[in-house]
């Protein structure tokens, strides 16, 4: 496991990366200042947010229980990589996504 918050003395020489394939361990979600909040009762799983997401941060999640009668899955965001750009909220045809301020 890569040390993501090393002390000066723990950094490799010249901040080199010596573990191949370790980029997947680096999460960029904390760059976000807004998060998309999805109302799963409005999501019709059309996939527009997935198409428009400039990252790859819309993920299909199976519904546990349905109040709206909708079955199957809905789209939510991946908090590890979502930068909070809000394009999904803009594009959602049913208005299921609202942007909420992240708190530090």
């Amino acid at each position: 496991m890569m040390n993501l918050k090393p002390k000066c003395s723990e950094l490799e020489l010249g901040a080199a990366v010596t573990t191949p394939g370790s980029a997947r361990e680096y999460e960029t979600g904390d760059w976000r200042s807004f998060r998309p909040v999805t109302d799963e009762n409005k999501c019709i799983a059309c996939g527009m947010c997935w198409v428009f997401c400039p990252d790859a941060s819309r993920i299909l999640i199976p519904r546990k229980e349905s109040k709206s009668g909708l079955t199957g899955s809905y789209y939510d965001f991946n908090p590890k990589y979502c930068k909070g750009c809000g394009i999904c909220a803009q594009e959602c045809p049913t208005g299921a996504i609202a942007m909420a301020q992240e708190e530090l």
Binding site: C8, G14, A15, V17, T18
Partner: protein, 397 residues
């Protein structure tokens, strides 16, 4: 001609001597672009490689930006790497200089100091290196040809030490030093082989052990990366002292981070950096001493890491210190070296009066007689409590 297997004392142009010493250090790779007044060094090295006297890759590139970029590639691949430049060439490299040091590439570069345009000047001053003070390199100065010759193998040994792994710039004055013929006491392949072991990289580009050098440094690690670089540069001083001491023991020529000349009882000191004013200063001090003036001289050999403690020890308790800069921080505090020496002495009860003197820009001659007169002027200014922030000497205004 120089015999690389026999110690000699011969008259030789300093640039050619420097190139001959680089040969003895057996670099694996050289990437360089010619620029006045550095050209003779890489020109001679290209001949040495073409003649088969040195087994190295000599890569002629189309600019200094490419020269330093190529040097980083060579160094990252595990090569002992050398280049040389001057003035505008150093400026064109500037972007890459930061990367070379941050990636901890132990490149050695000879920097033949020359003024920066405009107006166009091929003559000497320290504008080029002063514009690149903060590139994170170790920066050392030779005051004459012998020192440049001797400091070159020291530079490789310091750079490649695993406690350091930083690039080193060896500075010398353009023309007044690079193009003069000096008597040089040469060393041999056998001497340098026993002093400078082959380079053992700590990390290198190797398909069997993949490593990514120079990756993105996100905000979570950038501060730590800068602090690690700063710590390494400051700690390199220990290795610099060790290497100078070992060189002295083996070859009988001794070097220090700050050299002193007749400072013992001096109430007034002149401080210089680089050969032109360094050796002129000696003559001025000798004449002032003959007149009974208690004047001495301190010469910085190591400019980065800045020798704070040495200067505090040498300057403490003096009455007047005149710091000669061959560069000006335009719109700033005057001379860059004076500014740093003032900061080294700030708030100390034993601090002397420090006068920043800006002199010898763009090849303007400063004679020993001028320096003698400037010391008298400075003493008078101090007595009359009329010390300026800085004094640009010899200027018509």
């Amino acid at each position: 001609m120089i015999d690389s297997h026999k110690r000699q004392r011969i008259g030789i142009e300093v640039s050619i001597g420097a190139a001959e010493m680089v040969k003895l250090c057996r670099p694996d790779g050289i990437a360089a672009y010619p620029i006045t007044p550095q050209t003779h060094i890489v020109e001679h090295l290209s001949e040495i490689v073409a003649d088969g006297a040195l087994d190295a890759e000599f890569i002629p590139v189309e600019s200094e930006h490419s020269a330093m970029s190529t040097c980083i590639g060579l160094s990252a691949a595990g090569c002992r790497t050398y280049t040389a430049t001057s003035s505008q060439g150093l400026q064109l490299m500037s972007e890459i200089l930061f990367i070379a040091s941050s990636m901890r590439c132990p490149i050695v570069m000879t920097i033949v100091n020359r003024a920066l345009s405009a107006p166009i000047s091929i003559w000497g001053d320290l504008s080029d290196i002063m514009a690149n003070r903060d590139v994170g390199w170790i920066q050392i100065f030779g005051n004459n040809g012998q020192e440049v010759y001797d400091l070159t193998p020291c530079a490789f040994k310091i750079a490649e030490d695993h406690r350091v792994l930083l690039p080193v710039g060896v500075n010398l004055d353009g023309f007044t030093l690079s193009h003069v013929v000096e008597p040089l006491e040469t060393l041999t392949f056998e001497d340098i082989d026993s002093f400078l072991p082959p380079y053992e990289p700590k990390l290198r580009l190797d398909p069997d052990n993949p490593v990514m050098m120079g990756p993105v440094g996100a905000p979570e690690i950038f501060t730590e990366a800068k602090k690690a670089h700063e710590d390494a540069l400051v700690a390199s001083r220990l290795v610099i002292d060790e290497v100078f001491a070992e060189f002295g023991e083996r070859f009988g020529r001794h070097y220090k981070a700050v050299e002193e000349y007749k400072t013992d009882d001096a109430d007034t000191l002149i401080v210089t950096l680089g050969g032109t004013l360094g050796e002129t200063g000696h003559v001025a001090v000798d004449h002032l001493r003959e007149q009974g003036e208690k004047v001495g001289q301190a010469m910085l050999r190591v400019w980065r890491p800045f020798p704070f403690e040495d200067l505090q020890r040498i300057l403490a308790g003096r009455k007047l210190v005149m710091v000669y800069d061959r560069a000006i921080s335009l719109g700033g505090p005057g001379g860059p070296m004076a500014s740093e020496i003032k900061s080294a002495m700030y708030g100390r009860a034993d601090a002397p009066a420090i006068l920043s003197v800006i002199a010898a820009l763009g090849g303007r001659d400063v004679r020993w007689k001028d320096m003698v007169a400037q010391v008298a002027d400075a003493k008078e200014m101090l007595e009359n409590e009329q010390m300026p922030n800085y004094l640009m000497v010899g200027v018509r205004e």
